[in-house]
């Protein structure tokens, strides 16, 4: 009997020990590569997920604007083998069948969800730990969110018009990663307020002295993006001012003469002009060697303009992405900011400053010693030249469509696009509502109350 008591007590103790260990045992992560994020390190790793946040890998920022724009054209054969959504976008069909999933919508919102997740984690970290690192992470998350929102706004929201922005439908602006919420479209005004608000907050949070990496946001990137956003809403004063702020921090230009001409893709992601790298989705005809460069544009490069050699291979196929490995660069770079400042000078009537910026850029694009500085008779002439050079420098950057949208607001710079495919001619005039792409049909199915863009 005594023995039995010992046995039972031993067993009881054993079971007790087991139950104590139960919690650790059951809290073991099922998969070592999975875990629940909670620390600033986790936040940094999430924001460093270039696959999502910078649009690399299979994801990417919108490419449909590139297909809609006039930088490229498709041969009938390439058009015919393209996906339906690409075909319909290319000919600006009134309705575009975007299928069940569209990377242009889904992937920027994925970056938004990651940013929101990071912001939520940061919010739970006690304020005593809210140091410079914490600030930097919050600023980065806000920047990424603003970048994604802006990418979406310039595709799916109508171009900003101060008279109607309060009523025009913008894009949904989710503030958390809760998948059970319902989405609704904010107004265009709210959309831009959100973007600019995020960026101005980020401006104060991002450290000025940290080591620069092309995939991470920096103060220069905040200024460059602010400049891009203000340019798109037609606020040339602030666009120029932020461009200038950016150039104060980052202004180095590549000498194209020193760039190797034998590589297929001559530029690197870490090139001196890089401010913030981001790629747009290299899908369908946006993939390298699937679409041709607009013939007039291709012909417009002069003999000593090195861009003709560096930007094109195998005829007129574009290879001049500022990224590498065939990724299509759509991020922020010094050349764009310089051209923005130049344009803003011209629009402000400062012809000399405008032409100085332009010539400063072009000099580096031409073979050494061959460049003769451009001159302009007046600000209007300067603007015309700057816009032409903007097009020649920033082709296939995902920016042309947004430029066309804002330039169409002004009849002097408005452009009518035209395409011929399989013998049929399609045109898109400046006042056409089709300058805004429709929302994907499946998004409206999830949110039946959401208004569709009128086309």
């Amino acid at each position: 009997m005594c023995r039995a008591i010992y046995t039972y007590s031993f067993l009881f103790l054993f079971l007790f020990w087991c139950s104590c260990n139960k919690i650790t045992f059951l809290n073991t992560k099922p998969n070592t590569s999975l875990h629940v994020p909670s620390t600033p390190q986790d936040c940094q790793a999430l924001l460093d997920d270039d696959w999502v946040m910078n649009g690399y890998g299979n994801s990417g920022y919108p490419y449909l604007p590139e297909l809609s724009g006039d930088d490229l054209y498709l041969e009938d054969a390439d058009y015919n083998k393209s996906a339906l959504v690409d075909q319909e976008t290319y000919i600006w069909r009134q309705q575009i069948d975007m299928g069940d999933a569209l990377s242009d919508w889904d992937l920027p919102y994925k970056a938004v969800a990651t940013s929101n997740t990071v912001l939520a984690i940061l919010g739970k970290i006690p304020s005593s730990y809210q140091t410079a690192t914490w600030n930097g992470l919050k600023g980065s998350a806000l920047f990424y969110r603003a970048y994604a929102f802006f990418e979406l706004a310039r595709v799916f929201a109508p171009v900003y018009d101060s008279t109607t922005a309060g009523t025009d439908s913008g894009i949904p602006l989710p503030q958390s990663a809760d998948i059970n919420q319902k989405a609704s479209r904010a107004t265009v005004q709210q959309t831009y307020d959100q973007i600019l608000g995020d960026l101005r907050q980020a401006e104060g949070l991002l450290p000025k002295d940290s080591v620069w990496l092309p995939t991470r946001p920096s103060p220069a990137a905040v200024y460059a993006l602010l400049s891009r956003v203000f340019l798109s809403v037609g606020n040339y004063v602030l666009a120029g001012r932020y461009a200038d702020s950016c150039l104060q921090l980052k202004h180095e230009l590549m000498l194209y003469d020193t760039v190797s001409k034998t590589k297929i893709f001559p530029f690197y992601r870490t090139n001196p002009e890089m401010i913030f790298c981001a790629a747009y989705f290299p899908g369908g005809p946006a993939a390298p060697f699937r679409s041709h460069t607009d013939s007039n544009l291709f012909r417009s490069y002069e003999q000593n303009d090195l861009r003709k050699q560096l930007f094109f291979k195998y005829g007129d196929y574009f290879v001049g992405s500022y990224d590498q490995d065939g990724y299509r660069f759509g991020g922020l770079a010094v050349d764009e900011v310089l051209l923005t400042r130049s344009e803003c000078y011209a629009r402000a009537g400062n012809t000399a400053a405008a032409m100085a910026d332009l010539n400063h850029l072009l000099e580096t694009r031409w073979a050494a010693g061959t460049f003769i500085p451009y001159t302009a008779v007046d600000a209007g002439d300067a603007l015309r030249q700057i816009l032409m050079e903007r097009r020649k420098q920033l082709l296939f950057r995902g920016t042309r469509w947004a430029d066309l949208r804002r330039l169409n607001k002004d009849s002097r710079t408005a452009v009518t696009l035209s395409r011929t495919i399989n013998g049929a001619v399609y045109t898109l005039s400046p006042k056409d509502p089709r300058w805004t792409l429709p929302l994907p049909g499946y998004i409206l199915k999830f949110n039946p109350d959401m208004p569709q863009n009128i086309r």
Binding site: A45, L46, D48, D106, P174, T215
Partner: protein, 1182 residues
């Protein structure tokens, strides 16, 4: 002669020493023998008798008597006289059992008195011995602990350890009643022979005597309330094959084995066993497999079927609830063999199987003349012009097109081209493929087992070797299995056991896809007139990726040879997958008191999988990759190789380590017939860690290590193609599963008539990243049984047994598809390689995550007629599954989109299914005389439908894959849908569907893309809902014959359909091309559309239209087994207790199919496997 004298040692009983020997036939009795020597020992005399008459003797020890010579000198001594007159002088006696025609020789203990009737008044002393022949070996066994009663009195006794018993003062006319578990009850009149020999017969195996093992406890089937089926080891031995579970097919009611019914989209239903219908959508639907009391984590192919004692199938809640959350799909409990015989017993099993090459003509491909004529026609139409223009001018073309092109370019004359084309019409690629890529497969199996038991030790050891060569040249499988188990009874209280097993298996593959060949980039299959070798037998290239022009150009500037010779390439890849599995079992059982036992068990398993896929430098894969990246310097023309020339080796390593421990108390108390209580309870823990890694090495020469390239640069291929990165293959993963469980299970039996059972179990796992208290789930079951036939009022004469059973309870299932929190997966570096760790969101939070729950209700009737002539079980069950994990599409505006083109989704516990079904098993002993005929009939009906699922049904096109779960309300999970069919257009031969307004329509794209689910034809389940088998076994003397006929009814499959786009793009297609619509009127006799090569949507519509769906119902002759058994003989000094030689044939094909197209639903659109023939031998040697 004597044999095994030394091995056969049994403890010497206190009262009697029985020696017995068996004579083979009555005729022996009258035979005579001679011994010329004057003196001989009894042993010598028995030897002589054996040599001269064939009788032989088994002795327990060589007693003194046998060593002392006794007078002999017999000449033609009749055996009977010797036995009657001489033996008593030595204290020996014998008994003759006329029924069994045997003579039993016995020796009385020294000093024991002779048992002659001494009391003429009638009362006398009787002695007897109870024995039986073991069914498997025929070996005689004394039965201990058997109750012997004098009928009509309360005098009874139990037999001793050697089966002996005695009564004194027994009336001469008394009758003995002998009863034992698993034995037929016997009544024997007392005779005046000295020793009463009682030879008991095993009860004919019925459900009543079956022992079930649920992994926690072994118990008799009749003492349970649950639904169990048992497949005995001997039934498993009926068939051949390396896979144990595959051998149970068509033997168990309620268990469905799905067979790959290849759909038009070349996919098949998930294979494996489905017990009582599927109770889950996305979670693992396979039953839990338990080997020797613990869930088995390794590959089931690691278990040698010859090592298996029995397989128990647990079907209802009362049976499975003890396994808790993982047994929602039922459980399969495998019990390995233990030592059973007192003497060391050797078992040798071997079999040799051969399966001829598959039938490549069965699937029916387009003939060479048809394809050539089609190509000529299309060439004339300019269809191939695209291949010779623009950037696609390096696209591969077939030889016919190349010849036509050469002729039109004037390189050869039209007549020459035509002559060469005509010559190709006589070629049939399948002849070459059959000859050079296939062969007859062989499977050799051999295993040796040794086992035995003593009062202290029970041991079992086995070794097995399987060596199979596959039907495809270069494919082989080898397996070694070794197993050792020892149970030691240390004291009356303590028993310890240990077991070890090792399995090594090696799967070897060459690069031989057989008829499924597809070229690397072009996806081209063998065109019908392709010849694999030339006239001299040298392999010929198959140009499916590049045009000959391109290959010439690249060769001229120094590229590696760039042709694919499929026959030569078979040997250029060596893919070895080796799996090493080690299992160690330890346990002890301690008797705490007479009724209470404590069991501690521990098991550790380690399975290492190593894959080594080596493509030699001459393999097409290596040459193609190297060439594809080779860069040509535009200035110097020099070649550079981003991928270093050499072989390519893909390595993978996976290590699975699982540890399981259990502590269990079991209590059993029986009070006569009145109460019987059996309770067990305990807890167990389980941890399984799986790590896996893989890598690819380039530039491998011989065994040298080589580079693992990590270059993300893009390279342009020479001349044409898109820029690409060098494929880097590699990865590392680690998965950890932890489980903790506690369980309690009790059965109470009242008066051996009323059974009540209840069980409960709590499981917890590290599954969900959820709060600890949400990780567990309680599961329970209750059951009851009523042995109606034991009631006094039960007066149905012809029914000897009738039991009603019912049970209800819950089981569960787990799915790792979802987590309660946001989880991220981490990578060491981002894609841009900036040198910092990254993390991406793996799952979005699902805070309402829980286990899947399966509620099972089961009622059953067990019955047997008198003498078990007909016995059986009929069961009905209902299975309701709730909280099933299902995919729910979510709004990608909140993240969650996986990849471009993929919809954002998450998994939630949203779905419900409900299943019901019926099982019946009937066993009929039609003849029990010299000819024995037994019939086993099993019948299963199982349906399951979705009863709750919140996803919108969407479009019909999402439901065309019948091999994937198609959850639709009130429909089976696996169902076949198709587009409505309106026949062929009489004018054009176009296939016609139906437009929204109900008219015949040829708007195929619209029909394909926009037909709502409601507008589709729903045919029915893709899984059979009525199925079963009929097995007849005949035995006559030493021969037995059995065959199994299976049936599967009420399900559908999609026939292979002609798709013109595939026909032209893949260079081959079905032979229904010959039956295509060609002129008005054809639509009355064919449904194959007219030739139209520019409308893929039309092809797609036709392939998925109702006309291509057929009933898959079939009746098959599964297998035939003919065996010859010889018992108890000696050959060259080896005594063999049992020898079975058998011939077995399986895969005999259908006897009847519902479809009239001659399609065997097990092989749709693929080559049909040949019949498998086996011969084998099983021997038991003591």
């Amino acid at each position: 002669m004597f044999f095994n004298l030394r091995e056969w040692r049994v403890p010497i009983p206190k009262r009697l020493l029985w020696i017995f020997c068996l004579f083979c036939a009555t005729s022996l009795y009258a035979q005579t023998f001679s011994i010329p020597q004057k003196q001989a020992t009894l042993r010598e005399i028995f030897d002589a008798i054996h040599e001269q008459t064939g009788a032989y003797f088994s002795l327990s020890d060589e007693g003194i008597l046998f060593k002392q010579p006794i007078p002999a000198g017999f000449k033609d001594m009749p055996l009977k006289v010797f036995l009657n007159e001489r033996l008593p002088a030595y204290g020996l006696t014998y008994s003759f059992d006329p029924d069994d025609r045997r003579i039993i020789l016995l020796r009385r203990k020294k000093g024991g008195r002779m048992a002659r009737p001494e009391n003429p008044g009638g009362l006398r002393r009787i002695e007897g011995i109870v024995m039986r022949s073991k069914p498997a070996s025929g070996e005689t066994e004394f039965l201990a602990g058997i109750s012997v009663q004098i009928k009509g009195t309360d005098r009874s006794t139990m037999t001793d350890t050697l089966g002996g018993f005695f009564f004194t003062d027994v009336p001469a006319d008394a009758t003995l009643v002998v009863t034992a578990i698993n034995m037929e009850k016997m009544e024997i009149a007392v005779t005046d022979s000295q020793i009463i020999i009682i030879r008991m017969n095993e009860k004919v195996l019925t459900l009543d005597t079956t022992v079930v093992n649920d992994g926690y406890k072994k118990r008799r089937r009749v003492t349970t309330t649950g639904s169990y089926n048992v497949v005995s080891g001997s039934l498993l031995e009926r068939s051949t094959g390396s896979d144990a579970l595959a051998r149970t097919e068509n033997l168990i009611p309620g268990v469905l084995d799905n067979h790959g019914s290849q759909a038009a989209d070349k996919s098949s239903l998930p294979e494996g066993k489905v017990i009582h219908g599927r109770g889950t959508i996305l979670a693992d639907g396979n039953p839990l497999v338990i080997v020797d009391d613990f869930p088995y984590d390794g590959l089931l192919s690691s278990i040698n079927p010859d090592d298996i004692e029995s397989i128990t199938i647990l079907k209802d809640a009362a049976a499975t609830a003890i396994w808790g959350a993982r047994a929602g799909n039922g459980a399969i409990v495998i019990t390995t063999k233990k030592g059973t015989s007192d003497r060391p017993r050797w078992d040798i099993h071997t079999s040799y199987s051969i399966q001829p090459r598959p039938d490549l003509w069965y699937a029916g491909s387009i003939s060479s003349p048809d394809y050539i004529e089609l190509e000529k026609y299309l060439y004339g139409k300019g269809y191939y012009d695209q291949n010779f223009s623009g950037t696609t001018n390096y696209a591969p073309v077939t030889p016919v097109i190349a010849l036509l092109r050469a002729a039109s370019q004037g390189l050869i004359t039209a007549a020459e081209a035509n002559a060469r084309i005509e010559a190709m019409k006589g070629v049939d690629v399948r002849k070459d493929v059959k000859k050079y890529m296939y062969r007859n497969s062989l499977a050799r199996q051999v295993s040796v087992q040794v086992s035995g038991k003593t009062s202290k030790l029970n041991y079992f050891g086995s070794a097995g070797w399987d060596d199979n060569t596959g039907n495809l040249v270069g494919l082989g499988y080898k397996r070694f299995t070794g197993r050792a188990q020892v149970t030691d009874t240390v004291s009356k209280r303590l028993q310890v056991y240990g077991g070890m097993s090792y399995t090594g298996s090696w799967n070897i593959n060459g690069n031989n896809p057989g008829m499924d060949f597809q070229s690397g980039h072009g996806g081209k299959s063998f065109y019908p007139y392709y010849r694999l070798v030339d006239n001299t037998g040298r392999p010929r290239p198959f140009l499916g990726d590049y045009s000959p022009d391109y290959l010439r150009q690249t060769a001229s500037i120094g590229f590696l040879p760039w042709t694919d010779d499929p026959v030569r390439d078979i040997r250029e890849e060596k893919n070895t997958l080796s799996i090493q599995d080690h299992v160690l079992d330890l346990g002890l059982r301690y008797r705490l008191s007479r009724d209470l036992n404590l069991d501690l068990k521990y098991k550790v398993e380690r399975q290492t999988t190593r894959g080594d896929d080596f493509h030699s430098d001459s393999s097409y894969l290596a040459r193609d990759l190297i060439n594809g990246y080779t860069q040509v310097d535009p200035v110097t023309g020099l070649l550079s190789y981003p991928i270093p020339p050499g072989g390519i080796r893909d390595l993978q390593n996976q290590v699975l380590t699982s540890q399981q421990g259990r502590i269990q108390f079991s209590y059993h108390k029986s009070r006569g017939d009145l109460h019987d209580v059996s309770i067990l309870g305990g807890g167990e823990g389980r941890s399984m860690v799986t790590t896996a890694s893989s890598s690819r090495l380039y530039g491998v020469h011989g065994k040298d290590a080589a580079t693992n390239l990590d270059d993300s640069s893009l390279f342009m291929p020479y001349m044409f193609g898109e820029a690409r990165q060098i494929p880097v293959m590699g990865g590392h993963s680690k998965q950890i599963d932890h489980f903790l469980s506690a369980y309690l299970d009790g059965t109470y039996t009242l008066r051996d008539r009323y059974l009540f059972s209840a069980s409960g179990r709590v499981d917890a796992a590290n599954l969900f990243g959820a709060e600890t208290n949400a990780k567990g789930t309680p599961l329970w079951s209750v059951g009851g049984a009523w042995k109606l036939s034991k009631e006094e009022f039960f007066k149905v004469d012809w029914l000897s047994r009738l039991t009603l059973r019912a049970s209800r309870g819950t089981a569960g299932n787990i799915s790792r598809k979802s987590t309660a929190f946001t989880t991220v997966s981490s990578q060491a570096n981002g894609i841009t390689g900036m040198g910092y760790p990254t993390a991406s969101i793996a799952t979005l939070p699902n805070d309402r995550l829980r286990w899947e729950l399966v509620r099972i209700t089961n009622v059953g009737v067990d019955f047997a007629t008198k003498q078990d002539i007909l016995s059986g079980t009929v069961e009905y069950y209902q299975k309701r599954s709730t909280d099933l994990m299902a995919k729910v599409f979510t709004d990608p505006t909140f993240g969650g989109a996986p990849n471009p083109g993929e919809r954002a989704f998450s998994y939630k516990n949203v779905a419900m299914t409900q299943g019901e079904g019926m099982d019946a098993e009937l066993i009929s002993h039609n003849f029990r005389g010299r000819l024995k005929w037994t019939t086993h009939f099993i019948f299963s009906y199982a349906v399951s439908r979705v009863t709750g699922y919140s996803l919108p049904n969407g479009l019909g096109k999402d439901y065309l894959a019948s091999n994937l779960p198609n959850p639709v309300l009130n429909k089976p999970l696996y169902a076949v849908y198709s587009y409505k069919w309106q026949g062929l257009d009489p004018q054009t031969g176009d296939p016609r569907g139906i437009s929204p307004d109900g008219k015949p329509s040829t708007a195929w794209a619209a029909i394909n893309d926009s037909t709502p689910l409601a507008g589709m034809v729903y045919h029915g389940s893709a899984e059979p809902t009525v199925f079963g088998a009929l097995r007849n076994e005949f035995a006559l003397g030493a021969f037995s014959l059995s065959f199994n006929i299976s049936y599967k009814f009420n399900y559908y499959f999609r026939k292979p359909a002609l798709r013109y786009d595939n026909l032209l793009n893949t260079w081959t297609g079905p032979d229904s091309y010959a039956r295509r619509w060609q002129k008005p009127g054809d639509e009355k006799v064919t449904s194959v559309p007219s030739l139209n090569y520019t409308a893929p949507e039309r092809d797609r519509f036709y392939a998925y239209s109702a006309v291509n769906v057929a009933r898959a119902d079939n009746i098959r002759l599964e297998d035939v087994n003919l065996s010859y058994e010889k018992k108890d003989f000696t050959w060259r000094g080896i005594h063999c207790q049992d020898l079975v030689v058998f011939v077995y044939c399986s895969n005999l094909g259908p006897l009847w199919t519902a479809n009239k197209d001659g399609i065997n639903p097990y092989f749709v659109g693929v080559a049909r496997d040949g019949k498998r023939w086996s011969i084998g031998l099983r021997a038991s040697i003591f």
